[in-house]
């Protein structure tokens, strides 16, 4: 059974002059996911988000927003595209009115967002006087006006200091838990690995890899078993299975071809009544998969 999607791109091609920004790109963004768009500069991440927003149109292929109206999509651009003369509260009220809010409901929603995003103190600050971190929060606040079902975040961590990045990650996770679908582009693989449920890797406008994050990271032939105290003689019995098995006080490591003896080791441990506290099967890192996909 296929997952319900909010974005469905099929063979999308977008050119800027002779340069192909997207080349027959097909991908689906499942509803409720945090979908990370990865790729080197010029891979087509921002172009894809602008196509979804309807700022650009594909030359070939179709891009379906699955019936989501504009008010149900919030967008945070990668650069500070804000009218510099307006103050933070004025700007949020302007976007809120365009999102269909008005009167007391608009004022309440703006106030809630100012509070939630720690912008209360900056409500009367002109946008031209806001720091990068403040503008990122203003961007998120305006995107959340109208309570959209989907958020498009273009490089949301760009220019933020470590604490700002941590806060942004926490907000993304909170929004995900509240049921929103989030599409974000990023160069920061550790952020993506922490917050995304799905990932698409682009290379020269083409889809290099796509899927659930856990499915994208292949298992490595390396197993680590954390145990409780082992009876005397059991470590040597385990080593006798294969001399390559490493047994320390409470940890057994099977690396390389030896990892295939995992079942035998577990059988011995369970047979001896040993408490198995943790079994870790090592996976490739996102960085390894990314580099392979985008440079291979």
């Amino acid at each position: 059974m296929t997952e319900p999607c909010l974005i469905r791109a099929l063979g999308v091609t977008k050119r800027y002059g002779n340069a192909r920004a997207l080349d027959r790109l097909s991908l689906q963004v499942p509803e409720g996911s945090v979908f990370g768009l990865l790729g080197p500069n010029g891979a087509g991440k921002t172009t894809f988000l602008r196509l979804v927003m309807g700022f650009l149109f594909p030359e070939e292929g179709t891009l379906d927003r699955c019936g989501l109206p504009p008010c149900q999509v919030g967008y945070v651009p990668d650069r500070a595209f804000y009218p510099s003369r307006l103050r933070v509260r004025e700007y949020l009220c302007l976007v809120g009115r365009l999102a269909g809010l008005g009167g007391g409901a608009l004022q309440r929603r703006v106030q809630d967002l100012l509070t939630a995003l720690d912008l209360e103190g900056a409500a009367r600050t002109r946008l031209s006087g806001c720091s990068r971190g403040m503008l990122q929060r203003v961007g998120l606040a305006q995107a959340l006006l109208g309570d959209p079902r989907m958020l498009l975040l273009d490089e949301p961590m760009l220019g933020l200091d470590p604490s700002g990045q941590k806060l942004m990650r926490a907000r993304i996770e909170a929004l995900h838990l509240s049921g929103k679908t989030i599409v974000l582009s990023s160069h920061n693989l550790s952020d993506v690995a922490r917050v995304c449920t799905h990932v698409a890797m682009l290379r020269h406008g083409r889809l290099a890899r796509s899927g659930r994050l856990d499915a994208l990271l292949p298992l490595r032939p390396e197993v680590s078993i954390q145990t409780g105290p082992m009876p005397a003689g059991l470590p040597s019995a385990i080593r006798s299975l294969d001399p390559g098995i490493l047994v320390s006080e409470n940890r057994i490591t099977l690396a390389g071809e030896v990892a295939e003896r995992k079942t035998d080791v577990l059988r011995l441990l369970l047979g001896a009544g040993v408490d198995i506290r943790e079994l870790i099967e090592a996976r490739a890192t996102l960085e390894e998969v990314y580099l392979e996909a985008t440079q291979g």
Binding site: M53, F55, P70, C71, Y75, F81, V95, R97, L98
Partner: protein, 239 residues
């Protein structure tokens, strides 16, 4: 509809909050001083005021379109159900600015005793100028860089200049045997010419109403053309 007025307010404020906002004000002051220098009666006001202030309104609408044609509009356009709402906001803004400038010019010259008006025929100013300035606003939207595809706006300006020159140089064109050009120019400019001629003469019969309807139709056609051009245009704005 409310979104259009919200955007109109934002764009007008953005225009007059910037240096560009001085241009329509300066043009209005200049026009008010020069055109009314020797006084003006109501008939002249209908035609000279209508066309002169209409040109200033055209300029103001172009400036509003320029304000919309920048990266700060990304997040606003993204909220609209249709891009046509942005064009409607620009057109409405230009029309409102034109009326505001007209009221200012007329009031100042009236107080200065340089304008003679008669009541209640003066009320015919409202439909005459409203429709005329809908045309100038729609023309400006259609000729703006915001909606232009390729060099469509340059082609539009060229066509406009050719029509205006042909209309102005009718005798020369007839002498050179280009009567077809004169006929085309006459037909294109007839609605505006007839509207102002009838209004300034104080005649509001069938010709006036036909001209009024045709000017309105032209304005609608130009606006629809602009909407068609802008509907699926890639917008690549930068600051």
């Amino acid at each position: 509809m409310s979104r259009i007025w919200v955007l109109t307010g934002y764009l007008v404020r953005a225009l007059f909050g910037s240096l560009a906002g001085v241009a329509p004000l300066a043009a209005a002051v200049t026009f008010g001083l020069i055109a009314f220098e020797y006084g003006m009666d109501q008939a002249q006001l209908f035609t000279v005021g209508g066309l002169g202030i209409g040109v200033i309104g055209f300029l103001a609408t172009l400036l509003l379109a320029g304000k919309a044609d920048r990266a700060a509009s990304y997040l606003l356009v993204g909220r609209l159900r249709s891009r046509t709402e942005l064009l409607a906001a620009i057109g409405a803004g230009g029309w409102c600015i034109t009326w505001a400038l007209a009221l200012g010019i007329v009031s100042v010259n009236l107080l200065a005793g340089r304008l003679t008006l008669s009541w209640p025929s003066l009320l015919w100013l409202v439909p005459t100028w409203s429709v005329l300035w809908l045309l100038t606003s729609a023309l400006a939207v259609a000729l703006s860089g915001l909606v232009s595809r390729g060099a469509s706006n340059l082609l539009g300006y060229l066509l406009l200049v050719v029509i205006l020159v042909a209309n102005d140089r009718q005798t020369e064109l007839l002498e050179r045997g280009a009567s077809w050009a004169v006929r085309i120019a006459e037909r294109v400019t007839w609605p505006v010419g007839a509207l102002l001629a009838e209004a300034s003469a104080g005649v509001h019969g069938r010709t006036y109403l036909l001209a009024l309807a045709l000017v309105l139709f032209l304005a609608a056609a130009l606006f629809l053309l602009a909407a068609y051009l802008f509907r699926d245009k890639d917008v690549l704005w930068s600051e």
